[in-house]
């Protein structure tokens, strides 16, 4: 049963990865990274049970923490580079 959940989480990660690549807006990318981070927390927790040594869950904590800090850092980055300029006027060139 852990297997099924692991596969579900992996599928979710792959979809989020695609969204991070495809964009189109930068907020989509931030959202995708956030979702990816949460799914990684779950994956670590489940893999711990799957491999029979679930006592190392501290790592999942760090993931949740870093996920939060990264999202805030990104938002702050856009406040700095004056959002009116960076968020609207430029268009994706790739």
């Amino acid at each position: 049963m852990f297997t099924a959940v692991t596969i579900a989480v992996l599928v979710a990660m792959a979809l989020a990865l695609f969204r991070a690549y495809a964009g189109p807006t930068l907020y989509d990318r931030i959202l995708a990274v956030n979702v990816f981070g949460t799914k990684t927390v779950l994956l670590i927790a489940i893999v711990g049970f799957l491999m029979g040594r679930p006592e190392f869950l501290d790592i999942a904590m760090v993931y949740a923490l870093m996920n939060f800090i990264t999202v805030i850092g990104i938002l702050r980055f856009f406040e700095y580079s004056s959002p009116g300029k960076s968020a609207n006027s430029e268009t994706v060139k790739d």
Binding site: L17, A20, I69, I74
Partner: protein
Amino acid sequence: MESFVHVVIILMLVTTAIAIVRVKDLFAVTMLAGIYGLLSASFFVLMDAHDVAFTEAAVGAGISTLLVLTTLSMTGRFEKASVKPQADYRPVLALVLVTVTGALLIYGTQDMPGFGTADAPVQTHVVPRYLNDSATEIGIPNVVASILASYRGYDTFGEVVVIFTAGIGVLAMVMSNATKMPVVQTALMSDHVVLRIVSKMLIPLIMLFALYVQFHGEYGPGGGFQAGVIFASAFILYAMLFGLTAARNVVNHTLVQLLSALGVLLYGSVGVVAMINGGNFLDYNFLSDDPVAGQMLGILLVELGVGITVASVMIIIFFTFTARSQKEGEAD
């Protein structure tokens, strides 16, 4: 099942790396690099390297993303599309070089022992001794911590000095009288009330967690390196939400600089004390009458030194970068 997860994660790593090559928006590149960090950390968990995963999660996905973003805010977001004619053949040449090198390396892997074999040379040299004797010689369950701080204490000392030097280097490069600079932007993310309140609740939790990681490192994954990064991230979070000036009021710039040196000094002093007591440099057996107690004490102090240095260097690096980017913002 483990090998299935292994293959999927490895394939996702390759996909992310290729996506990084193709995307021109440097912001998106940074996001993908963050995902790459998360993925490699999950891979380390699968490979039983919990300590490494711990560090990579804090560093690769967290701090380095923030640093790159701060730099991007100074240098601009888009990679310039090259218009020169010489740019046409360059990717082809590079691709040929890369393919040839890769093919040679793959040819070289023919002699490598298969994945997961227990009798590979890596597993038979030195390591059995560490695994068998660590429990009686050092007396702590986490073998990674005992190798890091005791058996290979010299190495770690060197690494700590490298980190300290990098901190000095960053200061020398981009400091720009950052200490005296009047920072105007204090009410930075003032409209994010929810964010501020939740973060205020979280910051003490993060620090507590960092202390747990620091002092629990002998019994589970953790230790000075990880705890230092986590501890620094609490201050970074504070600085991001309440402005650099407020954060500087909490952790004085001079104090952090002193602390970063103090950590290295603490590490070195432990070694010197061991020498004074009649042993070799960093031979913790001589720190106490009972060798095992000496080892425990030595590892505790050394990890503390590592933690202090790593935390303060990370704070220094982040604060100097932020101060620089704010200065640039005002110049515009």
